[in-house]
Subunit: 330 residues, 2 copies
């Protein structure tokens, strides 16, 4: 059960809307729901999402060079001002329909029901799973070139991956860093051809194929990586100041499918432009939301905007639901 | 010519990207373009867009209760930090294709060219055009219930209009204000039936049809409106503390069509999820952007997010364009 739950907070078992997740999408959804006078509760396993682990954020307009944890605090205080209760420290493990309500259950066994649920649970970036990776997160290891690239001016960095994000990150980093290794475990890339061609021509980018990172080394910050050729089995050490891991994300497909949600080909929830899903009453926003109407650009500002849109849609949805309830009671 | 142009700013005649407009969408686009190392200039008739006239903003997550002008300053300083030149005070009057570049011309006769242009010019809210309207903007007259509704707790307000925005505003305001007049010049409403039904049942909402406001009165703030029945010609005075004008927006259709842009049925630029338009190299974001992929919710946070997405798309676009240029030079 939650160590973090706000004290003295009276938690009811029924709300108009439950927001699952407390990253920029979930917190903004809650802020807007409160402004729409929708009776709302936030339930989340943690607070801030990926924003909380960003060493320094400089791409949230209007707030210059702010540590991620500080930005989380600013968002959270903004929501708290509107009196939205938050249950933090409890992951949601089940979402089921009961009558005209959606009910969630947390790992702690708590059950809450509401007319609408906003899923803003984010996605975990896929990790390499090598020694040193966790230790150096925010100290040389990053999962977002656009967010953290600026810290590597005239330095040497490695990008791991073979898809669009890896190439896009390598190209972007080549405009900042002195040298960029692009390390891919296979010979063939999934990235778009124009990315590959562009990277191959870029004198700052050295592409290393059939190679994996086996360890990330350093003292206080990353200084080296150990790499291994998967064919020759040859190992060597490269001096780098940063490692950008771009090998995709892991949406919790089984959990989402068990709710009955329609997913896109990458396993993200397929949302309409208004953040509604195939299930009336379930909305999604932020990194977990996908589908053909969404151009994927995982930023704090885009997640927050989707949260605002989801809140507006919930507001519209609840007006309708309550009206038809009133009608059926007549 | 501009009185506001930053001094000592050396303006070139060719950039990689020109951002037209300096509201939240344009400023965020410029911030992200600068972070992508895209050589960018902002050209705008004013700075801040509608954000600049908001008395107090409390729906931009992380920045609580901030005057609109202050938020404009925070956004602007954030962009300036990245050294993006700004030409403020010059409206763009023409956008034409010249070779592989798009060139803009300002009312002052300045001409600038770039591979990509982001149109973030906003839209003017349609005005009633009655005495007192301009005088009381921000002092009782508002064009955004979600933004300014909070100032009217337990007060009496009037909403003008007969469409979804008018009804949605009236319903929202009924949760805050003591009484809401919904004033519409016709007998029939364009709004969705469930909105109309909901408003008719709401004891706080009084619907007044076939009626127009002829004058907004007050001393320092709005205190009364003069209304006139369009059939009986009868005039009367209503005591109100606020007037919310929700009679639509005026996108500059002729200007947009003259560029060759595809518009949606309301006259907004039809954008794809990545904010590209039917014209390669022209992108749009913020209130001027529309089309079937976009759920319209005109907020600072949503405009800013669209700006970030447009910048990402311009970055991808410019990589491609420069690459094909290099290829054709071979």
């Amino acid at each position: 059960m939650s160590r973090f739950r706000l004290r003295f907070e009276k938690i009811k078992d029924k709300y108009d809307c439950i927001v699952v997740g407390a990253g920029p999408a979930g917190l903004t959804a809650a802020l807007y729901l409160a402004r729409f006078n929708i009776d709302t509760v936030i339930v989340s396993k943690d607070i801030g999402g990926k924003m909380a682990v960003a060493p320094l954020v400089d791409d949230y307009p209007g707030i210059s060079e702010v540590p991620g944890v500080k930005l989380v605090e600013l968002f959270t205080n903004h929501v708290k001002k509107y009196g939205v209760p938050m249950i933090i420290g409890e992951a949601v493990v089940d979402v089921v329909k009961e009558g005209d309500m959606w009910c969630i259950e947390t790992e702690g066994g708590r059950k809450l029901c509401a007319y609408a649920v906003i899923l803003a649970i984010g996605v975990e970036k896929r990790k390499l799973g090598v020694p040193g990776e966790d230790k150096f997160i925010g100290r040389g290891v990053s999962y977002c070139a656009v967010c953290d690239g600026m810290f590597f001016k005239d330095k040497v960095v490695a990008v791991v991956g073979g898809g669009d994000s890896a190439f896009s990150s390598a190209l972007y980093l080549s405009t900042i860093a002195r040298k960029v290794y692009l390390i891919h475990r296979r010979e063939i890339f999934k990235a778009m051809p124009y990315y590959i061609e562009k990277a191959k021509k870029n004198p700052k980018i050295e592409i290393i194929t059939n190679t994996v990172i086996t360890e990330i080394l350093g003292d206080k910050k990353v200084s080296k990586i150990k790499v291994k050729n998967t064919i020759t089995k040859e190992e060597k050490i490269l001096d780098v100041d940063g490692v950008f891991i771009e090998i995709g994300s892991e949406p919790p497909k089984q959990f989402l499918k068990s709710i009955g949600l329609e997913l896109d080909e990458n396993g993200y929830i397929a949302v309409n432009p208004d953040m509604s899903t195939n299930l009336p009453g379930i909305f999604a926003c932020g990194d977990i939301a996908g589908g053909r109407y969404k151009y994927r650009f995982e930023q704090i500002i885009t997640a927050a905007a989707e949260g605002a849109i989801a809140a507006k849609s919930v507001y519209e949805y609840i007006i309708k639901v309550k009206q038809s309830e009133n009608n059926s009671l007549k």
